[in-house]
C-alpha cells in the first residue's frame, strides 16, 4: 500500500489502459479520480464501483481534457474532494489514422488537441498543487509510435513524440521541487482502441514483436505504478518503453 494517502487523477480512465492504471493505482492505496469524456459516465462509474468494492476510494469526474476550462475545473474538483493532488496520469488519447496525403485538417487538430494539448493543460493545472507540497509524480502515456513511427499515424505519432519532449522539459523544470515527470511508451496493447485493427493486421503485427505477443493493459499499468512508487524516486525525464521489445 505504498500509495496510501496519495491522491491520483487518471485521465481517460473509463476503459482500456486508463482503466487498468486507475485500478492498479487504487490497489496500491491511492484515492483515484477517474476522468472520463463528458456523456460517457457509465463505464467510468463501473471503474469507480470496482475500486470501491475492493475497499478503495474513487470518484468519477467528467472533463473534455482538450479544453482548458474543463481541465482546471476537474483538477479543482479533485483537490476539493480528496484534499490534494499527488499523482497525475495523462492517459486520455484518441487516434484518427490516415495516410498523411489524405489526412484532414480536423483529424490532425483533434488528435493533437486531445492527446497533447490535454497533457499541457492537465500538467500545468496539477503542478500548481504539487509545487505547494513540493512533491508529486506525473506520468504521461506516450507510445511506441512516437518513438519509432508508424505509417498512417502522423498525427498520433506527432502528439506522442510531443509528449516525450514535453516530459523532458517539465522534468527539468520541477525536479528541484521533488516532482518526477516521466512517460511510458506502450507498444501494441489489446484494448478497445486496438480491437478495431483487422485480424490480419494484428497477426502481422505480432510477428514484429520480439516477445511474440500483443501487450495487455496490465502490462502498461505495471510500469506506471512503478514510476509513481517510491522505487522510482531517482527516476525523472525518462520514457519507459512497454512494447515487447519493438523499440530498442
Amino acid at each position: 500500500m505504498f500509495l496510501e494517502n496519495r491522491v491520483a487523477l487518471v485521465t481517460g480512465a473509463s476503459q482500456g489502459i486508463g482503466r487498468a492504471i486507475a485500478l492498479a493505482v487504487a490497489k496500491n492505496g491511492a484515492a483515484v479520480a477517474v476522468n472520463h469524456y463528458p456523456g460517457q459516465s457509465d463505464q467510468a462509474d463501473l471503474v469507480v464501483e470496482q475500486i470501491a468494492m475492493a475497499g478503495g476510494r474513487a470518484f468519477p469526474v467528467a472533463a473534455d481534457v482538450s479544453k482548458r476550462p474543463e481541465v482546471e475545473e476537474m483538477v479543482d474538483s479533485v483537490v476539493k474532494r480528496f484534499g490534494s493532488l499527488d499523482i497525475l496520469i495523462n492517459n486520455a488519447g484518441i487516434t484518427r489514422d490516415q495516410l498523411l496525403l489524405r489526412m484532414k485538417d480536423q483529424d490532425w487538430d483533434a488528435v493533437l488537441a486531445t492527446n497533447l494539448n490535454s497533457v499541457f493543460y492537465c500538467t500545468r493545472a496539477a503542478l500548481k498543487w504539487m509545487l505547494k507540497s513540493r512533491s508529486g509524480r506525473v506520468v504521461s502515456l506516450a507510445s511506441v509510435v512516437g518513438v519509432i513511427g508508424n505509417a498512417g499515424q502522423a498525427n498520433y505519432g506527432a502528439s506522442k513524440a510531443g509528449i516525450i519532449g514535453f516530459t523532458k522539459c517539465v522534468a527539468r523544470e520541477v525536479a528541484s521541487r521533488g516532482i518526477n515527470v516521466n512517460a511510458v511508451a506502450p507498444g501494441y496493447i489489446r484494448t478497445e482502441m486496438t480491437d478495431r485493427i483487422s485480424p490480419q493486421a494484428q497477426d502481422e503485427l505480432q510477428g514484429t514483436i520480439p516477445l511474440g505477443r500483443i501487450g495487455t493493459p496490465e502490462d502498461v499499468a505495471g510500469a506506471v505504478v512503478f514510476l509513481v512508487s517510491p522505487a522510482a524516486d531517482y527516476i525523472t525525464g525518462q520514457v519507459l518503453n512497454v512494447d515487447g521489445g519493438m523499440a530498442m
Binding site: 500548481k128 509545487l131 520541477v174
Partner: protein, 81 residues
C-alpha cells in the same frame, strides 16, 4: 482590497515570501531583492502566482519581470488592486 495601506500590503507580501522562500521575517525589508533571497526562476513564478491569488490581481509577464525587490512588488499591488 482597494483600501489596504502600504504597511498592510507589505506585511502580507512579507508573509508570502517567508512561506515561499523560507527566509526569516526580519530578513525581508522593502529594499530586499528577490535575488538576494536566493529565489530561483520557479520560486519567482510561484511567488507571482501567490501574489495574484492573495490580492486578486493579474500580473502579466512584462510587469512580473520588473518586480525585482519587495518594495516594487508592494507598489505594483497598491497600484493595481
Amino acid at each position: 482590497m482597494a483600501d489596504l495601506n502600504d504597511q498592510a500590503i507589505f506585511e502580507k507580501v512579507r508573509s508570502i515570501i517567508v512561506e515561499q522562500l523560507g527566509v526569516e521575517e526580519n530578513a525581508v525589508a522593502l529594499e530586499t531583492s528577490f535575488e538576494a533571497m536566493n529565489a530561483d526562476s520557479l520560486d519567482i513564478v510561484e511567488l507571482i502566482m501567490a501574489l495574484e491569488e492573495t490580492f486578486g490581481i493579474e500580473i502579466p509577464d512584462e510587469a512580473a519581470e520588473k518586480l525585482l525587490t519587495v518594495g516594487t512588488a508592494v507598489e505594483y499591488i497598491k497600484a493595481n488592486s
